[in-house]
């Protein structure tokens, strides 16, 4: 085994591990699988937002049906996540529309649907709360304090205040949620479209009261996740498992699109208020931010979303005196949860539109303002994290400004229906604070006759996990990429590598794999795999997460190193305003991202292009219309994601500024691209003279917004 520069895989566009299966129709997604004797399941949901269940009338003959409610849960009736507050099946109380109450299964899909329509439930209704400002239940409150805020405001010449609003967003993976639960060996095996096999594993253990070895979770090929398949699959898997447990038969539960939109988690909507002290020359002296997120009816991952949100709330800017207060509260809407970016898109939208407003207020160039305040290596963030050499805020800003010809275009477009806007942003890779230490993720590498096999719970959901991990291992071992296999994410075979979320799969899990490969290489000591196996029988190397020395975090005071590393990004977006309808059409995006190292440039670019397109939807099109706590536009004709005709040209530039503790210098890339486009688009609209401060920036909102000269 010898590594040569020529054979290296990292940095090259090697073929995706599952690439051919995905273009030939051979890839098996959960609904493509069937099992002998399999039943189909459906979920009967509440039709009210708050109240108590009084009676359930089935309305159909039970023969051939498996019917389950909360009394059929063998263990604890909860979806085990951060808190055990969310029942898997409602008991008496209902806290949101579409809350699961009853489960039905039958071998014939059509009879099942017919039966579903005949179930009637009587409720005693209560008054729901939809306005988070009026909520009486706070899931989590976080306060970040740096320096002396009063002193910072005293140093300011001007104080700029503003309130910014962001709406719900649906992940809209094209493959709807689905699982199959199979009772076997006295336990249960779940196959499913999911991001985090071990989240589901734990939830099922608690729900069914089973030991570790009686629960097995296998990820099937997954048609997109974007966070939407982070925590919610625990719920669906629980439902399928309850039905399978009761019927002793395999049960498939696949949502249809409407159900998926109405019932599952979305990006948290929020209100973010800024009050910033700044000197005449544009130096930030004090930043005070108040973040309010609507968590919906149950906690899900809301505290962690809030945490990432508040830590990113200043944007990538230095300031000595900062106070950030965040709250996420309960309302009677379906719970909100993980969605790519995880709180950071919301707060950085506010930060970057606010930055633009500061420049407008001071009458100075907004690029200059950002340059002046952008983080440099050695600066400290709001939590007191000292930034390392891989801090690239200035570099991405300058690169994006020059590549897009931002200043000349801004001048040229003045007075026309064209606008151009910019946003500078950052995104922490990996779990927040002490999260990675608590997770203690593991990865294994197994020697095979022809090379090595990766054993991780990280899932391939379109982003290229298998490929990128295999590249890291191949180069570290010094063997060809093709000699590295990747085992299925099956809890019976792979260790708990933590969830596939938080831009951690490359930087954190990839690093553990790199360490496995280094040890395997030492252990082989130059012997071939065959020789080693003939001699010793087998070789499996397992490593656990071990953070860089000196990382410190205090969860009580929110002080310390929030993330191992940050990625850095700058988007410049050009838009055209339809002079009649005031509809905004984005025409060109210049995206510059510094991600440490692009392990696979095509995959990395794909993440940036795709994340950008999702954010274009977030900024302009995607609005969840909630009517009495129900999503009223739960179809693809009225929840509007961008089509080929709505997506702008996207010019992606990747910069590499290696992070010393990332594999081959890599940091995270999955989430960051969704942070920048919304504020860049709104800032482009502002350059047309319209004072928009909320998204989606629909023409109705633009029409209602005051003109900039009036609102100054």
């Amino acid at each position: 085994m010898g590594a040569t520069e020529k054979s290296r895989a990292v940095g090259r566009n090697v073929p995706r591990k599952e690439g051919l299966d995905k273009v030939t129709g051979a890839a098996k997604y959960v609904d493509d699988l069937t099992f002998p004797g399999m039943l189909h399941g459906r979920t009967i949901r509440s039709t009210i937002a708050a109240g108590e269940i009084e009676n359930i009338h089935l309305g159909f003959a039970r023969k051939g049906f498996t019917i389950a409610d909360c009394r059929d849960v063998p263990g604890r009736n909860v979806v085990a996540l951060i808190e055990l507050d969310q029942p898997c099946l409602a008991e008496r109380r209902v806290r949101h529309f579409a809350e699961p109450i009853l489960l039905l299964a039958h071998e014939d899909r059509e009879r099942l649907l017919e039966a579903e329509s005949l179930v009637a439930i009587d409720y005693r209704e209560e008054t729901p709360i939809y306005d988070p400002e009026k909520s009486d239940h706070c899931f989590k409150e976080i306060r970040i304090e740096k320096g002396d805020l009063a002193r910072g405001f005293a140093e300011a010449d001007v104080v700029v205040e503003g309130e910014y609003r962001v709406g719900l967003q649906e992940q809209l993976y094209i493959e709807p949620n689905g699982v199959i639960a199979v009772p076997e060996n006295g336990g249960i095996t779940v196959y499913g479209s999911l991001q985090c096999p071990y989240y589901v594993h734990r939830a099922l253990r608690v729900l069914l009261g089973l030991s570790d070895d009686k629960v097995r979770v296998v990820q099937t090929e997954t048609g997109g996740g974007f966070g939407g398949k982070e925590e919610y699959p625990s719920m669906i898997a629980g439902h399928a498992a309850i039905l399978a447990w009761k019927s002793r038969r395999p049960v498939k539960l696949v949502y249809d699109r409407v159900e998926d939109m109405v019932a599952t988690t979305k990006r948290h909507p929020g209100v973010i208020r800024h009050s910033t002290g700044v000197t005449r020359d544009g130096t930030l002296t004090a930043i005070k931010i108040d973040v309010l997120l609507d968590g919906g009816a149950y906690m899900t991952l809301s505290p962690v979303v809030l945490s990432r949100g508040v830590i990113h709330a200043t944007g990538p800017y230095r300031c000595d005196h900062v106070r950030i207060q965040g709250r996420v509260v309960a309302t009677n809407t379906p719970p909100n949860g993980a969605f790519r970016g995880f709180g950071a898109p919301q707060t950085q939208f506010a930060a970057e539109v606010h930055m633009e407003r500061i420049a407008e207020t001071l009458g100075i160039d907004s690029v200059r303002l950002r340059e002046k305040n952008a983080f440099r290596p050695g600066d400290t963030t709001s939590t007191g994290q000292k930034l390392g050499r891989d801090t690239s805020a200035l570099r991405v800003l300058r690169e994006a400004v020059s590549r897009s010809d931002f200043r000349a275009k801004r001048r040229a477009y003045r007075g026309t229906n064209r606008g151009i806007g910019l946003a500078l942003f950052f995104h922490g890779s990996g779990f927040t604070g002490g999260g990675e230490v608590k997770l203690a993720s593991k990865a294994s590498l197994e020697l095979t006759e022809t090379g090595a096999r990766i054993l991780v719970a990280s899932t391939e959901i379109g982003q290229g996990t298998r490929t990128m991990h295999a590249q890291i291992v191949a180069d570290t071992l010094g063997i060809p990429y093709d000699a590295v296999e990747v085992a299925a994410a099956d809890t019976a075979r792979v260790p708990d590598s933590g969830p596939t979320v938080a831009s951690r799969t490359c930087m954190v899990v990839g690093k553990i794999l790199e360490r496995c490969a280094q040890e395997m290489r030492r252990e082989l000591g130059g012997r071939s795999a065959q020789d080693y196996l003939a001699e010793r029988g087998s070789l499996v190397v397992t490593k656990e997460y071990s953070g860089p020395d000196g990382l410190y975090w205090d969860d009580e005071t929110y002080r310390g190193d929030a993330y191992g590393a940050f990625g850095w990004g700058c988007d410049v977006i050009e838009v055209e305003r339809d002079p009649e309808t005031w509809q905004i059409r984005p025409t060109r995006v210049t995206a510059v991202c510094e991600i440490g190292k692009a392990i696979h440039p095509v995959l990395a670019r794909g993440q940036i292009e795709g994340g950008t397109a999702q954010a274009v939807g977030y900024a302009l099109l995607e609005e969840v219309a909630m009517r009495d706590g129900r999503m009223a536009n739960a179809q693809l004709t009225n929840y509007l994601v961008p089509t080929t005709l709505d997506t702008p040209e996207i010019d992606v530039t990747i910069l590499e500024n290696p992070y010393e503790h990332g594999p081959f210098g890599a940091k995270g890339v999955g989430e960051m691209p969704i942070d920048g486009p919304a504020p860049a688009i709104v800032n482009a609209i502002r350059s047309l003279g319209v004072d928009v401060r909320s998204i989606p920036a629909t023409p109705e909102r633009i029409l209602e917004a005051p003109s900039l000269s009036a609102s100054r």
Binding site: G11, G224, R257, P377, P601, Q635, E656
Partner: protein, 194 residues
Amino acid sequence: METFPDILPAEPTRVHVGFQVNGESVEVAFAPHKTLLEVLREDLALTGTKHGCELGECGTCAVLVDGRPVLSCLYLGLECAGRRVETVEGMAPAAGLHPLQKAFADLGAAQCGYCTPGILLTAKALLDANASPTLDEIKEALAGNLCRCTGYIKIFEAVELAAAWTRGEDAEPRKETLYGTDYDESGLLPVVNR
């Protein structure tokens, strides 16, 4: 407990329908209200055709009937009688891949892969009718196929590349498609702050 009559008759009447799937004649028996999507997936075990909304609002289930892309979720199976149906499973020649399949794999135009079969077939119909589509024509032809992963950029590039291959040109993926405009010959990207 109240009692109710069983609400549905036992087995619904089945129809026998003969049509061509991926070049082979098949005869299938199924209930008359089944859609082509359901017949392909459930009666012919051709699961390469996916469903995204089942209401004609996403394009995921697109297949070709007599060479034209249609939404199999809204197309009755029995309407296929005597017609020619092509699914993703039939795209590749006996050996190798269809140029579109190869281009999609090479350029990263399939990320999660779930919308891919419908997009491949829709693009195939486009290239069958128009060997040199412009970017606007590609966008227009694929306007009914939603993709949430790629932002469509790599899909457009893959269709352009496959079109060039189909025309017999010895085309290669553009370097900037693969590495961006800062690509240099070593395949390395610019490193900052070193």
